[in-house]
Amino acid sequence: MEATTNIEEFKKHHVRKYIIVFVSLMGLTIVTVTVASFHLSVTTAIMVALLIAAIKGSLVASYFMHLISEKKMIFMTLILTVVFFAVLMGLPLFHHANPITIK
């Protein structure tokens, strides 16, 4: 962060933001634990849990890790990573989707 930042300004803008994020993270944790006790069907449960985790994850990445205001170069790197990460996640698909079977 630039050394010239006005301290008061910084406090107002950033520290408040961090606290809001923190509170939402806590809230979402409670939500996900509660939802888990609802006995939803497996697919729904997985969707919900992963959705919440994704939201939490993006909060951490966006605010704690300042991704939201990050430089282009880092975005490019991460986009590349995300693409290959997706490929990696698709691996079970490659494996299971198309076996040789006798029809």
């Binding site: 590349l80 290959f84 490929v87 990696l88 691996l91 989707a97 040789i100």
Partner: protein, 637 residues
Amino acid sequence: MGSNNITQTGHAVHAVDLHLHHEEQSFWRKYIFSTDHKVIGIQYGISSLLFLLFGFTLMMVMRWQLAYPGEPFPAMKFVLPFVVIGLIVILVSGFRPSLGTLVGVLLIGMGALVYFLGNGDERFPDGIMLPEYYNQLGAMHGTIMVFLGVVPLAVGAFGNYVMPLQIGAPDMAFPKLNMASYWVYFVGGIVMLYSFFIPGGSAQSGWTSYPPLSDITVPGFWGGQTFWLIGMVFLITSSLLGSVNFITTVLQLRAKGLTLMRFPFFVWAQFVTGFLLLLAFPPLEAAGVLQLMDRLAGTSFFLPSGLVVSGQIWPNSGGGNPLLWQHLFWFLAHPEVYVLILPAMGIVAEIITNNTRKPLWGYKSMVYSIIFLGFMSFIVWAHHMFLTGMGTAISSFFQTTTMIISIPSVIILSCLFISLYGGSIRFNTPMLFALAFLPMFGIGGLTGLPLGLSASDIPLHDTYYVIGHFHYVVAPGTIFALFAGIYYWFPKITGRTMNETMGKVHFWGSFVCMNVIFFPMLIQGLAGVSRRLYDGGQQYAHAQNVLYLNEVMSIGAWVMALFQLVFIINLFMSMRRGKKVESNHWEATTLDWSATSSPPIAHGNFAKLPEVYHGPYEYSLPGNGKDFAPQNEPMKA
């Protein structure tokens, strides 16, 4: 250390440079735990050359068994050359504490190692090689060549030494990390070597280490496979540290005016390679951890239920998936093979432009191709697994991507060919090696095509055709490019040139032998001979009429070793006796030659950080006076 020579021959500018920025460092800080990218590059270079030699030796031992199955192994015949060459190296280095002497001693040590590896009841009872030992040699040859030889030489040594100079950087972005990367590599290498000495010997499931075989042969902690895995974790970590450093350096420390499209092609190659290492290696690290868990904690990640080994039900929980390993392994290993080739292409591009005295033809399309190549290399991995039970959809996907990825290679190679046209070609040793790279990589790459089509891969998969395919790319391909690089940058590193006559002997000998070794592999492969056969195929009827080639190939390999001796002697003799030369000996344009004095050693590459005014290969520009325009000099025209 040889760097002694280097300091002695240093130019005035460089001495001043040293004086300005650094008080005298201790021996250890300067040569052993140095953070200077050039010293680290040399460390990588020496270690990886030794490993290459060692990997080659393992193969020469194997080739004995392939040529003369079941005949007693004449260990001493393989030990003697090491001792002799070690003594010669010590001799030409003049019996004083120097890099040459150290390497001479190491070579003699390697002779002792080979003696150890060529004897002993658990390897050669009654002088005859055991099949399990053959498998150990094969697995370790592959591993050592790829992970301890070529990658560290291409990336660790050339990347480290040359790349920062070419972009006008004072050093790597993270010098300490750079040092750590070398030492982690070193430890990984030692772990790998050590595994030969444990009971049961080293890993023996191929360099691919497919489970369940790798899980169940010599299970438990004291199995060579465990050491292989631990060694790999070190090597992967080293590569990761290195790649973070490389990418950051390229992006952050490039000189003023050095825009991306003014990069020398070698820098592009290293840059793309950095990303391949960064993103492809972690999955193998994960897979390595999983296999370690299988071996040490008794988990079943790669072991399905219901395994019966030698009539006994294998005690484990089951439920795992053996193909998972293959996916994770090839997810790395296909990008990895491009890690083996891209730096080589970079080196070849530098040398060809320099020795044709004209710009690289199609620089831009080459850059786009190499980026595309890097990207695509992540989505072709399953072409190594066509025969593991793939339906049409998935196999179509992977063979299509495989065909697509061959196009950028074709483009790069075409550009290099066309670059020759209209040049004024100087046939010096580096150029000879670089030129030979083209058709050799051509053969290797072209033989990839029938393998990449799933239907024609059926007869060819896991035959010597595959072995022939990739050796053409890595041995007369990459290794030749690396030789070219050594001859080319030697004056940069030492201020002297290598002997041309010996260089040419080395070239022609290696060129002929390489083809004698690897072309017959394609023939055997088409005849259907499987790879990794202890007796070279003697048991099989379909192999009978190509069996005679085994002896031919083996003799080729041994004769080639003799030509490598010429190289080793040349290398160390030239360090002391080579002709002293100007700092821009080859009249090159890139910053590594034009902006620094030769040889720069210790911290500080440039008296003043250079500024770049134009593209990398402005040779023979009409109206520019001399036939080359260094990047740091504004063009006159």
